[in-house]
């Protein structure tokens, strides 16, 4: 049985047995290369489910939108390892209870689609541990390397040009599982912390503030980057922040639901290199 069939059967079971009220997965998109989020509520819906290398989006953000979990009923969701890490962070930040989420894990790393054993976030700890070990060895990206090599001025110019394209549609924020704030700082007007206008300064403010808010919380799922309608390579900003946090605090976000948020917790032996 192929993985897709295997998982369709699993989804049917989950729904027909009443173990979950919904399974969030992937369905066919407008074009053959597109997948779109699919919300399955009856066993028959599983027939529309797809699973392949094109299933890239991290769907965990849907769990915390518009009160889906407020009835305490369980919801199943198809996740890659980064998605599982998102669940851990959301649980650690008290946005959901990990036991309310049934995980249908899969991975597409190395081109080949494979199923991952486990049904709750805690079942994936060993896998995530190994991800932490290999994190510094992430596949090199030529553009990323080039940006890292730039002088501060060159880098500033590079991002200035990229941010000048920003239209402040907030697709990056809305697609990010970590951007769950009921009222984003950019939407607060008493005081107005960030210019809402989409000009160079306002765009800079927005993108930099978002990068800071994601430091130590981003799992590099790439949702923001893929969502950006003007193709700003947002993944690089968050990746760099992630490297920094790993290096300075030995923190790899989303290891477990009990992992303390790195920038919201204090340890006596925390390095204080940032204090000038």
């Amino acid at each position: 049985m192929s993985i897709v069939e295997q998982y369709r059967t699993k989804v049917k079971e989950l729904l027909s047995s009443g173990q979950v009220k919904m399974v969030i997965g992937y369905g066919a998109g407008t074009t053959p290369d597109r997948r779109r989020p699919l919300f399955m509520r009856s066993p028959e819906d599983a027939d529309k489910m797809l699973l392949d290398n094109a299933c890239i989006a991290n769907l965990s953000g849907y769990l915390v939108s518009e009160g889906l979990l407020s009835d305490e009923k369980r919801v199943a969701i198809m996740l890659r390892p980064e998605g599982v890490r998102s669940i851990n962070i959301l649980a650690a930040e008290s946005q959901l209870k990990a036991e309310q989420i049934v995980i249908v894990g899969f991975d597409t790393a190395g081109e080949e689609l494979r199923a991952i054993e486990g049904s709750e976030a805690k079942d994936f700890c060993a896998l995530i541990d190994s991800l932490k070990e290999s994190a510094p060895l992430q596949a090199p990206d030529p553009l990323f390397e080039r940006i890292v090599q730039m002088s501060p001025q060159e880098r500033f110019n590079y991002w200035q040009e990229e941010f000048s394209k920003c239209i402040k549609c907030y697709a990056c924020r809305q697609s990010c599982p970590m951007c769950y704030c009921r009222r984003c700082i950019v939407d607060s007007n008493q005081p107005q912390w960030i210019n809402t206008s989409s000009h160079t300064l306002g765009n800079f403010e927005w993108n930099i503030v978002r990068a800071f808010h994601l430091a130590g919380r981003c799992v590099a799922c790439g949702n923001c980057d893929r969502s950006c309608p003007v193709n700003i390579p947002l993944r690089f900003i968050n990746r760099r922040m992630g490297m920094e946090v790993l290096e300075v605090f030995d923190h790899f976000p989303g290891m477990s639901e009990s992992q303390e948020p790195v920038l919201a917790s204090f340890k006596k032996d925390d390095p204080e290199t940032f204090i000038l």
């Binding site: 597109r34 239209i167 206008s197 000009h199 306002g202 390579p233």
Partner: protein, 337 residues
């Protein structure tokens, strides 16, 4: 015999127009993103784009438009107005759906109160449209009763030649004729045939969808919840849309000086309609998606006898979760059967 503008004359045209004090803008791809930008050399144009990612709207309704500069002193408020530029310009290589989008928004910006920021730019701009010979899976102009060679909103319509060496010229308005008078001697009479226009299949039954939307009881149909479940509430579709015109007015500065601006805003955002009291008439994403569809295909036609959509398909093409007007109207038109 038709008048032809050969592509190799384009640099001369740009030169002529520049000498006449007219700036030229066209489809350009840079930093991995495409839109309509200033062009000085013909080589900068990218006519191969099916459609630039960013619509033409921003050239008439910028994403952030300064309105007033204010300066406050004791018992005195001094303001100076920002006005839309008065310089003439030609947008060369407009797609028909983008040109139509501008024509759709004219009545809105002129409805009793004239928005001079819009109309000043409209008056100073000549739209030279190129008929589409290519379309992609998201193009849907024909579903909106437009065509890949629609003249709506355009001043000049160019039809690409079969051998791609230039364009047949059709002058549609006086404004277009004026602009092309400047380059008249660079055009040549020729028998060259125009390439066939793109085939864009009709993706939904517009009339059926409109009829469904007109029924008051459908306003609270469960359909809205179902179709918008995966909407994440970003403003990508509205900001890329050539006809979405909603905006916010924001002051930037402090108590003493600053600038009041008119910024793009989006009905997708939760904050868009939120009252200060916390009451929000459109508090769910489904209500907000319904607003977008109803506004375009029911309220707008009710007021201006036009659908507020020109079928460019950007909303679907660039949606992070593969939603869009096409899918919604396709599903809607099925509901009647």
């Amino acid at each position: 015999m038709t008048r032809i503008l050969f592509a190799d004359k384009l640099d001369n045209c740009l030169e002529r127009w520049r000498s006449a004090g007219i700036s030229v803008i066209g489809p350009v791809k840079k930093s991995n993103s495409s839109g309509y930008s200033a062009v000085t050399k013909a080589a900068e144009f990218d006519f191969n784009l099916v459609l630039p990612e960013r619509s033409i709207k921003e050239l008439f309704f910028p994403q952030s438009e300064p309105l007033m500069r204010y300066e406050i002193k004791k018992q005195e408020i001094n303001t100076s107005e920002f006005k839309a530029p008065t310089s003439e310009r030609i947008i060369f290589g407009v797609r028909p759906c983008d040109a139509a989008g501008l024509a759709i928004d004219d009545p809105l910006f002129g409805w009793d109160y004239q928005d001079e920021y819009w109309f000043q730019r409209r008056r100073e701009t000549v739209l030279v449209t190129i008929a589409c010979t290519k379309a992609d899976d998201f193009c849907m102009c024909t579903s909106l009763k437009l065509t890949p060679d629609s003249e709506k909103g355009s001043d000049i319509l160019l039809r690409p030649l079969e051998n791609n060496s230039g364009w047949q010229v059709e002058e549609l308005t006086d404004r277009g004729r004026e602009a092309f008078k400047i380059i008249a001697d660079l055009l040549q009479e020729s028998q060259e045939k125009a390439a066939p226009t793109a085939v864009v299949e009709e993706k939904f039954d517009l009339e059926a969808a409109l009829a469904w939307l007109k029924e008051p009881e459908n306003f609270e149909s469960h359909f809205w919840k179902e179709i918008s479940m995966r909407c994440i509430g970003c403003g990508s579709c509205t900001f890329l849309c050539p006809t979405c015109h909603c905006f916010d007015i924001q002051d930037e500065g402090d108590t003493y000086s600053g600038i009041r601006r008119k910024n793009w805003d989006s009905c997708s955002f939760a904050l868009f309609t939120m009252h200060t009291s916390g009451h929000n008439p459109r508090s769910t994403q489904s209500a907000r998606w319904r607003q977008r569809i109803m506004h375009k295909f029911n309220y707008f036609p009710g007021k201006f006898n036009l659908n507020s959509c020109s079928g460019c398909g950007r909303c679907s093409r660039q949606c992070p979760v593969d939603m869009g007007i096409t899918e919604t109207l396709q599903e809607l038109s099925k509901l009647l059967r």
